[in-house]
Symmetry: C2
């Protein structure tokens, strides 16, 4: 086992009607709330009105229109400006991973005198951040239960991950009913994102029986519940389990004691969404089986075999090579069965900028130090195989 | 799924040599430290000297001799007295579950003006508690990662559980090497305790694929690593995995969203240890298979079958009844294979006080509201079957 320090101080408040506790969770921080949200889906499902009613004794400011792959120049800086001008006490993010990620960057930037990009790119370490509370409306990224965010800066094709323990939400409200209206496309993309989060922790050098078993259990649960949710979008238990699966998928509790994998698929996908603004989970669904196929060899084999048996119940009587190859096929077929695009060209990416993206990834993502190291040419081959 | 609120703010600091960070973890709370420990095993393994050296810039007071099944009148009140007289800033518990549990009660009692027993029995809700840091030397109870403690009051044969979110340790240091000297008996008892913790969460009415899978994974890991640790007490990875298994076993993360089971075996065992001061894990190993056998019926069957397949790999071709019965046998054989006493008479308990204990349990543990309800006569039958 690797040495580790683990602490997730976020309070998960789960269940039908849990949101009624919102005022008492916010109250200790003060009266001035910045409510952040996206394109307005929270108005369609009535959640905006519910939140406003619950906050009637607070002074509420709003930042709306936060984009998928949230943008630094518009949303982050926009939110920071409101926080500074209005002396906001607490940020309330209502939405999915993009809204939460953007709000985390706002919380850090709000209490920093310089350019927030310097925090996001680790040029400067934040000393403090505003408290963040969230109401989740899309199960996918796990941002509601981790200390990270991913912010895009379109001008420079940057999409960067920023982690700091100051960014853990104080509390996350998880009511499965707020995800009933999530589309098939977004449900599938959320499942692919969360499954990939766990795979990025599983495929590594040092691992334990506990971590393997928890990771496999969470992926089996994601698969089972995503299938139900795609067919029955208002199935409470399936939406609920799926939500909790996603929350645990990204905060390292499932892989506690494992060594660091390098998160290669996320590293590559960040470039795809930075250059083409595609849906993150869709990019991951396309890349993951191609990455698996590319890195499979005798020295990586054990992880594929373990994963195939634990997640897909592969027959132990088969040879290791057969199990590994069937496992790659099973991952591909799984995402395909969700109705996801399985080729880059399906999401509008052709060969034009593959070389440029491969170079960008190799320069910025450190994948030469991943568990299965990837240099620029390896990355280019994986991108080409994904076309 | 059940509604739930989950938050474990404790920082786990795991690994060989992790203790070097002890001064920086303690420093924010102040200079006055109450060091609590048990019978002196920490001196034998050199940990006492290490801690004292690390704390050379602190003002250290000591409470030693904390008993297994820690006692209210001697240890808890003794510690509270020192805290109040010396105006202690932070308690540092170095030991196993008994030392930690006792220290939690001390932390609450230290900042309460009345009789601490009123806190422990929920007559009064604590408003604050001293911060607790611990260095774990025995993997078993999970006290290092939960908000509970169990305190015995010999005069009244009471052994009561006390939970309060104020009791979460601030930080728990987990170095597998500090458990190398743990005896076979205590290693086995720790395994039985942690396995039972998970079973008490698994055998319930509402459960999810995620919780089932995580619980099964953790028990499989406990079994695998306990077997290694019993044969190779200085196997770092086995001791390390075992330690983390135990930490996660009792804080409800593994059963997140499950309904409450009533913790029947713990309820019964608390009386055994209160009346006879036996080792907690040994009491659980004796009671668990007898409880399973007693409650097995058509309506409880599903849990047995699921558990048998997920933990012991029972053949799905067998009938449910066969799987359930083989699962009970497997649990019994497992504890027996650890070399544990499997009858009450092996730990010095005869029939003399069974009726009295059954009555005490029925009056105090609320097991008539457990998932498989137990009245006084049911409890007596289980105790008799355990003789």
């Amino acid at each position: 086992m690797e040495n580790f320090t683990y602490c997730t101080p976020t309070k998960l408040i789960f269940g039908d009607g849990a949101i009624k506790n919102l005022p008492e969770v916010l109250a200790p921080f003060g009266k001035k709330v910045l409510l952040t949200y996206g394109g307005g889906s929270i108005k369609k499902i009535g959640l905006y009105d519910t939140v406003k009613e619950l906050l009637k004794d607070f002074e509420v400011y709003e930042l709306s229109g936060i984009e998928p792959n949230p943008k630094y120049t518009t949303s982050v800086l926009g939110g920071v400006k409101i926080c500074k001008e209005q002396k906001i006490d607490v940020v309330l993010a209502v939405g999915g991973g993009s809204v939460l990620d953007c709000s985390k960057a706002i919380c850090a930037g709000a209490l920093y005198d310089g350019e927030p990009w310097d925090l996001i790119t680790y040029k400067v370490k934040a000393k403090k951040a505003l408290p963040l509370v969230d109401v989740l409306t899309l199960a996918a990224t796990g941002s509601e239960y981790d200390s990270g965010c991913v912010i895009s800066r379109t001008e420079t094709n940057d999409k960067v991950g920023y982690l700091d323990e100051l960014l853990f939400p104080v509390a996350s409200f998880l009511d499965p009913k707020y995800t009933y209206s999530v589309s098939r496309k977004q449900t599938a993309a959320g499942a692919a994102d969360a499954i990939n989060h766990i795979m990025e922790q599983y495929f590594c050098a040092k691992h334990s029986t506990l971590a393997d078993g928890m990771c496999e259990a969470a992926i089996r649960s994601l698969i089972a519940n995503a299938k139900i949710a795609l067919e029955e979008p208002e199935n409470y238990d399936a939406r609920g389990e799926f939500m909790v699966d996603c929350s645990l998928a990204c905060n390292t509790i499932l892989s506690i004691g494992n060594s660091y994998s390098g998160w290669p698929c996320h590293g590559m996908e960040h470039a795809l969404s930075a250059y083409y603004d595609i849906t993150h989970g869709e990019g991951l669904a396309i890349l993951t089986p191609r990455w698996m196929k590319y890195i499979l060899n005798d020295s990586t084999m054990e992880r594929f075999v373990s994963f195939g048996k634990g997640v897909f119940g592969m027959d132990p009587a088969l040879s290791d090579r057969e199990i590994a190859e069937k496992t790659i096929d099973a991952v591909y077929s799984l995402f395909e069965s969700f109705g996801m695009p399985m080729h880059l060209k399906d999401v509008g990416i052709d060969e034009t900028r593959l070389q440029e993206m491969a170079h960008h990834i190799a320069e910025n993502e450190g994948l030469d130090k991943a568990w299965a190291p990837l240099k620029e040419n390896d990355i280019l081959e994986i991108l080409k195989a994904s076309l």
